[in-house]
């Protein structure tokens, strides 16, 4: 974790071309960026696009006025990137695809996970992004608040409301309810 006081220094160093500082920012914010992309794109494409988002951020870092706004600024880049990808997508391409890298659970687990991911993707933006950060990226509420710039109370509300909607979409045994 990056202590809050260090963040402005890291951003200044990265903006000046310090790649190690940028790598530290990447380590802290990559999960958030991936969650935002995964809320809209297939897993393998989301993973690829994380790199694109950080490259775009690297190029535009000098335009960032306030270090405190870095998280929200990065969120906006990631959301715009996802929108661009969806615009370029051919209508025949399915949203679901394989799992990234070496994560290869059984086919039934994959199918069920995709069903759950689809159910999360059907939630409003604030809920789906927060829930993916929590359930998929393994971040807790305070961490989500720290990287996104949201108030911890807002994150808590997003998590609980999102989870309630998700439970409604899932059956009693956790399977996706027939629509």
């Amino acid at each position: 974790m990056i202590v809050g006081d260090l963040l402005p220094q890291l951003i200044r160093s990265a903006a000046a071309g310090d790649q190690r500082a940028f790598a530290a920012l990447h380590a802290r914010y990559a999960g958030m960026v991936h969650a935002i992309l995964l809320a809209r794109l297939p897993p393998s494409e989301a993973e690829d696009q994380v790199q694109e988002v950080f490259l775009a951020a690297w190029k535009k870092l000098g335009q960032l006025d306030e270090a405190a706004g870095f998280g929200a600024w990065l969120c906006a880049i990631a959301r715009n990137r996802a929108v661009d990808c969806l615009r370029r997508r051919r209508p025949t391409e399915a949203l679901q695809d394989g799992w990234p890298d070496d994560a290869q659970p059984s086919s039934s687990d994959v199918a069920e996970a995709h069903q759950v991911l689809d159910a999360i993707r059907a939630l409003p933006d604030a809920y789906r992004e927060t829930l993916i950060m929590r359930l998929c990226e393994g971040m807790n509420g305070p961490e989500i608040a720290a990287v996104t710039g949201l108030e911890p109370g807002s994150v808590r509300i997003n998590l609980h409301r999102g989870m309630k909607l998700l439970r409604d979409k899932l059956g009693v045994d956790g399977k996706v309810a027939a629509s």
């Binding site: 025949t92 391409e93 990234p100 998929c136 509420g141």
Partner: protein, 279 residues
């Protein structure tokens, strides 16, 4: 009272824990991207040279005589015929090697897009995906962050072999296949065929440059390119190929290497054989 959903402390909610376990494999595990050098202001002499060129063009317009700069070596639209010797080109985001008897040209001022009419083009690109594109007579090969080699004859028949990373290969019907490290895809008049993993065969000899290559034997499935040769292209599972995971090679055949990390080495050997046969 603990709130497991928010702070991940205390007694886990069984349903939330189950969802965590189910979705955890999708978590991001990638490394930081390779970064380009930060943009810098152009040196004063570059600014001065640009100003002089602009002034010269302005004077030429005023006196009614068009002024045209002399095209630099490898300029856009200028065909490059390598003849008997291979040629190495810097494309800004990597390098490209044109084998002997290759005809190619840049089709974009950025030098990030090339047209390969015939022969062999080997590219090593260090850039984000989709920054470098090679157009062959029948296919469009798009770099997704990798090293790869394309061999085609004048009719567009040939192959794409990938030694690192991935490339996307699209045909005239806009169908696109993604080829991973250690894999290859054959090109025919119909565009890209089935993705398959290469097996370097000691007797593989490829003649290229003149548009004639010997059909290959065994499991090494290079498209035959002789006149009238029949080339069967499988179009099975195109959607599955499009949707291949980011870093997965395409295990479509029994010839795929058993270990992930063996694929690049095998492919390098195949490329070396290809270069030796050219030289």
């Amino acid at each position: 009272m603990s709130d497991y959903l928010f702070d991940r402390e205390g007694e886990p909610d069984p349903e939330i824990a189950r969802l965590e376990a189910m979705l955890a494999p999708m978590a991001y595990r990638g490394a930081a991207p390779r970064l380009p050098r930060p943009a810098r202001r152009a040196p004063a002499y570059v600014v001065a040279a640009a100003a002089i060129a602009l002034a010269a063009a302005l004077v030429a317009v005023l006196i009614g005589k068009p002024w045209r700069p002399r095209p630099p070596s490898g300029a856009v639209a200028q065909w490059i015929d390598t003849g008997e010797a291979a040629m190495r080109l810097d494309v800004g985001i990597g390098s490209v090697e044109l084998a002997a008897h290759t005809r190619a040209r840049f089709v974009a001022a950025t030098r990030h897009e090339m047209q390969l009419e015939r022969g062999t083009l080997t590219a090593t690109i260090h850039a984000p995906p989709r920054q470098f594109v090679v157009r062959t007579p029948r296919a469009v090969v798009t770099d997704l962050g990798c090293a790869f080699a394309i061999t085609v004859d004048a009719a567009g028949r040939g192959s794409v072999v990938v030694s690192e990373g991935r490339v996307a290969v699209a045909g005239g019907d806009a169908r696109e296949v993604v080829v991973g490290a250690g894999a290859r895809v054959e090109l025919s008049e119909a565009g890209p065929g089935e993705v398959s993993a290469p097996v370097p065969a000691p007797d593989v000899q490829e003649q290229q440059g003149t548009g004639n290559r010997k059909p290959e034997t065994g499991n090494h499935r290079m498209a035959p390119s002789g006149a009238g040769a029949h080339h069967h292209v499988s179009k099975k599972h195109p959607a599955k190929q499009i949707a291949a995971p980011a870093t997965h090679p395409q295990p479509h055949t029994n010839t795929a290497p058993s270990k992930k990390d063996e694929a690049p080495r095998i492919q390098h050997d195949a490329l070396k054989d290809l270069k030796n046969s050219v030289e």
